[in-house]
């Protein structure tokens, strides 16, 4: 099977790699996150409609933002608990 649009294929690989890098720090562990990430991408492997691929990439971008926000909040809350005295 040859990909119809190589540019889109590259974009998918790029966002997959970025997510893979991001979940190294996942609170439940890399071993938890990596298979799930892989499964999520593999479940979409058969999609060949360009519009659908684009919306899939958008969803991946959204997940990336969510994970970044999760990390930020987790750290912010931990530090707040340690350093801010709440009466």
């Amino acid at each position: 099977m040859t990909p119809q649009n190589p540019a889109l294929r590259l974009q998918v690989i790029k966002i997959y790699k970025e997510l893979l890098f991001l979940v190294r720090e996942y609170p439940l562990g890399y071993d938890y996150a990596r298979p799930r990430l892989h499964k999520a991408f593999m479940s979409q492997a058969g999609v060949d409609d360009e519009e659908k691929i684009r919306s899939g990439i958008k969803r991946a971008e959204f997940v990336k933002k969510e994970i970044e926000a999760l990390y930020y909040l987790k750290r912010y809350r931990a530090l707040r608990q340690r350093y801010d005295k709440i009466d």
């Binding site: 890098f21 991001l22 990390y71 912010y76 530090l79 707040r80 340690r82």
Partner: protein, 257 residues
């Protein structure tokens, strides 16, 4: 109108999510084989420096990230450059030989860097999450004779006048000063961006200067002696009482009534 030449000193510390363990001899915290990352307060200062540039009100000429510590400190410098610092400078400290740096030693090192690199703004984290000294920024401002704003929650700049909103007990305090200036960051200053993979790759091409302590020619002799390091006492669990009389008896026993 002068442009900003910012220095952001950063420290590599034990990751905030790791539970620190005291070593067997009760002299320090175990660091071998423990995950390290950039001090979270220093991430805030990098982010603020980058945001000052993005705000475009006063031009930022250069953002220099600085770290003193073991060779692995270069990793956190790369992270800082991935977040937006232009250059890095690493001073190698052989902890086995000279011991850990103390706030005064670091402040003197930073004074040297400020003078050599002609900085006019230093943004530091208010404290590191390992030593929790919260002294370096203040000492640096004292050594340089510059204005200082600690625990910044908001930084506004107009020309060469900086207005900083500081977090103080029970409220905020607003101070205004002209450059040059030392600012230390508090938790609510901004939301640091995540150093993404492509940016980390790009950061590998940014210049990093490596120096040794001897080259800096600064007296970093240890003046403090760590007497003992202990884990905090474990929390005692609560107790259930049968009835009101039981509770009163217990309170009396504890001397509460």
């Amino acid at each position: 109108m002068s442009s900003l030449r910012i220095l952001v000193p950063i420290k590599r510390v034990i990751d905030y999510a790791v539970r620190p363990r005291v070593n067997k001899t009760n002299t320090a915290v175990e660091t071998a084989g423990v995950k390290h990352s950039m001090n979270p307060f220093d991430e805030l200062s990098i982010e603020e420096a980058v945001r000052l540039r993005e705000r475009k009100s006063t031009p930022v000429e250069d953002i220099l990230a600085f770290s003193a510590g073991p060779a692995k400190s270069q990793d956190v410098l790369r992270t800082a450059m991935a977040m937006g610092a232009d250059r890095g400078m690493h001073v190698l400290v052989d902890v086995d030989k000279t011991g850990d740096l103390e706030p005064l030693g670091v402040a003197k090192l930073l004074r040297k860097v400020v003078e050599d690199e002609k900085r006019n703004l230093v943004i530091l984290g208010k404290q590191s999450i390992d030593d929790d000294s919260a002294q370096t920024g203040q000492m640096l401002a004292g050594l340089l004779g510059w204005s200082q704003a600690t625990q910044a929650a908001k930084v506004e700049i107009e020309g060469d006048v900086i207005t900083v909103t500081k977090e103080v007990d029970g409220g905020v305090e607003t101070v205004k000063a002209k450059l040059p200036m030392v600012i230390t960051t508090d938790l609510r200053l901004n939301e640091p961006r995540y150093a993404s993979l492509p940016n980390i790759m790009k950061a590998k091409k940014k210049p990093m200067v490596k120096k040794t302590l001897e080259e800096m020619g600064v007296d970093v002799k240890q003046r403090l002696k760590t007497v003992k390091v202990e884990e905090p006492a474990p929390r005692k669990g609560g107790q259930k009482v049968e009835d009101v009389d039981g509770m009163i008896a217990k309170l009396k026993e504890l001397g509460a009534i």
